[in-house]
């Protein structure tokens, strides 16, 4: 009995020792890391230079890793067929992808980021994480409205835009005459307790949607607008799919829904009608950006250039999973059933990026009103 006690105490003491040393080394690692990193900074600049020379001919069979939130099913094959380079795809919703990018900051694993959150990508560029001052060949094909979205430092390029939110209503519950026609209509008492929306504090596509209202109406005007709707019993769901489910389940009759989501409900045969308000729908721009220290710059550039190719955009519209969007290149046809004169209002990326935390926090705080 006594023996087993002393023996076990000894082993446990040993365990404790290893535990504390393990902890100790854990704490010391990052500092060691910091010093090696500091030493590595001057070297990094030289390595970008060598990369520039390596740009000329990427090795055959080279692979790049793309972080994206849509088109994961088709894009890899398309790129490989056209160029012979393999694409490693990481798919997730906008917030998951941005969390990964942020958490990997010290040692990024992605080469290209292709995502429909322009303000967040703008923010990455502000922190110096993107490759700048490079113009893809196909940038010449960009429509004027999309050229305007290319930042001065040329750190990302738009591949298309879609409505971050359109109005949809359940035709079994509301007649066309009773349905809302404009964004302002939603504040009316007629729609008390009938409206559903995604939570901008949680859902990634909801921010480009609300940010346009805040830019357009000013911070206070935006708060008034959404505040009125919330007081009017607007239901706030964590994400777009839950909004769509609430709509099909009859929990709400009117909703603000991301464009492709809205069209896929209609295409699935759900009794849903889409309304494009005359003043236009808040738009969300999908942009492609290259990671500053990528080891595969040449293939990454090839990929971004490929995305700006009119043929490629046409194929995405014909075959992709998020196919309802306005292509950024000239001469590409949108989906036939997409509203032909759909007007998109796009919040300024710099403005939206600057106010993102403030606006999202305001929405999160509304959860306790």
């Amino acid at each position: 009995m006594k023996l087993w006690k002393t023996k076990s105490a000894a082993t446990l003491g040993l365990l404790l020792l290893t535990f504390t040393t393990a902890c100790g080394s854990g704490a010391s690692q990052p500092t060691a890391q910091a010093s090696t990193d500091a030493a590595a900074t001057p070297a990094a600049t030289t390595s970008t230079e060598t990369k520039a020379t390596a740009d000329a001919k990427p090795a055959a069979g080279e692979e790049i890793t793309v972080y994206l939130n849509d088109f994961d099913a088709v894009i890899g094959d398309m790129f490989e067929k056209k160029t012979g380079y393999k694409l490693n795809v990481v798919v997730g919703n906008g917030a998951e992808i941005m969390s990964r990018v942020e958490a990997e900051k010290g040692n990024p694993q992605w080469d290209v980021l292709w995502i429909d959150s322009m303000p967040s990508v703008y923010g990455l560029d502000q922190k110096g994480q993107l490759l700048q001052d490079w113009t893809p060949e196909n940038a010449g094909n960009l429509k004027e409205s999309f050229e305007a979205q290319v930042p001065d430092d040329k750190s990302y390029y738009p591949t298309g835009a879609h409505a971050a939110g359109v109005l949809v209503y359940n035709t079994n519950e509301l007649s066309e005459a009773d349905a809302p026609k404009s964004w302002e209509d939603l504040t009316k008492d007629t729609y008390k307790d009938l409206i559903g929306t995604a939570d901008p504090a949680i859902a990634a596509p909801a921010y480009p949607f609300v940010s346009w209202f805040f830019e357009n109406k000013g911070m206070e005007g935006g708060q008034d607008y959404f505040g009125t709707m919330m007081k009017n019993g607007m239901r706030v769901y964590p994400k777009n799919p839950q909004v769509a489910q609430a709509l099909t389940a009859g929990e709400v009759d009117v909703a603000m829904l991301q464009e492709t989501n809205a069209y896929s409900l209609v295409n699935a045969g759900e009794p849903i009608e889409i309304i494009w308000p005359e003043e236009g729908a808040p738009g969300s721009v999908r942009v492609a950006a290259i990671q500053k220290d990528t080891k595969h710059a040449a293939v990454a550039k090839e990929f971004v250039n490929f995305l700006l190719d009119p043929e490629v955009q046409q194929q995405l519209i014909n075959e992709g999973d998020e196919s309802y969007f306005e292509p950024s290149a000239e001469g590409v046809e949108t989906k036939e059933d997409r509203e032909q004169d759909a007007k998109l209002n796009i919040a300024d990326a710099a403005w939206a990026s600057e106010h993102e935390a403030e606006i999202k926090q305001w929405f999160a705080d509304q959860a306790i009103q």
Binding site: Q33, D37, V90, V91, Q109, A201, N240, G250, N261, A364
Partner: protein, 549 residues
Amino acid sequence: MTIVLAVLVLFPLAAVIVQVLLPGIFFGSLNFGEIGLLLELFERPLWRKSLENSLLLGLGTAVLGTLLGTVLAMARMQWKFPGARWLDAAVWVLFIMPSFILAQGWIMFSTGNGLAASVFGWHWVTAAVFQPAGLIVIMTLSKFPLAYLSVKAAMEWKVEMLSDAARLCGASPFKVWRTVQAPLLLPAILSGMALVFMDTIGDFGLPSAVAAVYRFPTLPYSIYSAIYTSPIRFDMAGVLSLYLVALIAVAMLLQFWVLRRSRYDILSGRAVPSVPKPAGRRMTWALAIGNALFLLVVIGIPIGSSIVTSLLKIQTNGLTASNLTLENYASLLSEGSSLLPGLGRSLLIAGSAAVIGLIVGLGASFVLSYSRFRFKRGIETASLISFAVPGVVLGIGYIFVWNQPWLENLGIRLYGKPGILVLAAIAGAIPVITRVMTGAMAKVPESLLDAAQLQGGSLISRIRYILAPLVRGALISAGLAAFGACVFDLAVNSILFPPNFETLPVAIDDAFEDLRFGYASAATVAGGGIVVGIMMILERLLRRKEASA
């Protein structure tokens, strides 16, 4: 064992919390963060409210869920009745299903023109469900399996003579239960309660979906809103996670305090395996019918709704004969479907995690139960952390730790490789395993092990021939629970999965985000069915071996 635990659970979380104080430490810069953030809880109304709501929800669900789980487990082990196996299966189903799926089912049932109102005419359901008390009830009906499993595992062996003595002294069966049987199960009951509490305060999916109507922010909600913003506030997520950890520590302290003096190690040479007894005709019927009704509610509503969704052509048109289809199931098997490869990967990961987790967890529970190690309470609390802290936060911690460039030179930069998912899955499995195991080990007296040691039994042989057989049921439950829970663990998967390595939950979530509800439901039902099937077969095989031994 401790080191493994530390690497798996503590390092990633510590990483998230450390970067509150030293942001940039993982990116090669050393600067000091705002300590004031720690106190912001008392200033930001949302955070304060989140804490209150989480506490209310956690406590309410813990009390009700433990009560329900304990009563059910006792009835199940006491009496024989038809359908008892179905109760076990139902518990597994509830345990492994992601909570947002359960939430969808409840919402579809209770919404204004949901099944409750439109088919049964129960219009009161809507108002009853969509309020905080209703949320607690739904949480109770979804989380009680943790208490059930813990108590059931601990009832595997019993010492009849204690109850017999009480009966001989004239106590009624109820009094025997109240004064002898129930108190002896206290460690297992409290273990179950701790698990229910932690799983509830860490849950994001269910409360956020059910509370859309009246807003009920919880700590996980605030954590998500800090992460899902740009610039991303990992520091805020870290602070809020720290509060979750503090809540767990308090819960554990309470548990130690309650158990501080009593002894529960009652098993001796006279212990016999529990076998449910016949209950008499009327009682049997009552139990069978009660069980069936109960299953209809806890399984029928949430899972039934998923099944209905998976069979509909057009969701809005509801349940009519012309609107039924098997198309969604057919497309699961079609070429290009990511379900089967995803399921294969998930099963592989969950299987390895369950086996390794069982070894680590058994060791940890052994240390916790029989050693005199001074800091064992600390270890015990730490082993539970991964349960309550949202998977996204742990996932971010894993990236911080396992994406360090210097690991690359050692060949162990696990982030970006499937191994990281196994690691995270083990971390997720350990709390369940240690809780279930310590609950069961509390009944095995140290003297049995000492006796074996006096005869010259080594540590391994003591565990193998004395301890393992006595806690076999708990071992099986723990291993299966860990396996099942890993298969569907979405949060960690979604942030850690390597390129081109989609797992089952990621594939399902992807379909859900693309609004392919029918397909997503079909994948959930089929995937869940396969997993529960595997678990039931394993359980049967392992238990039968025991009966013949």
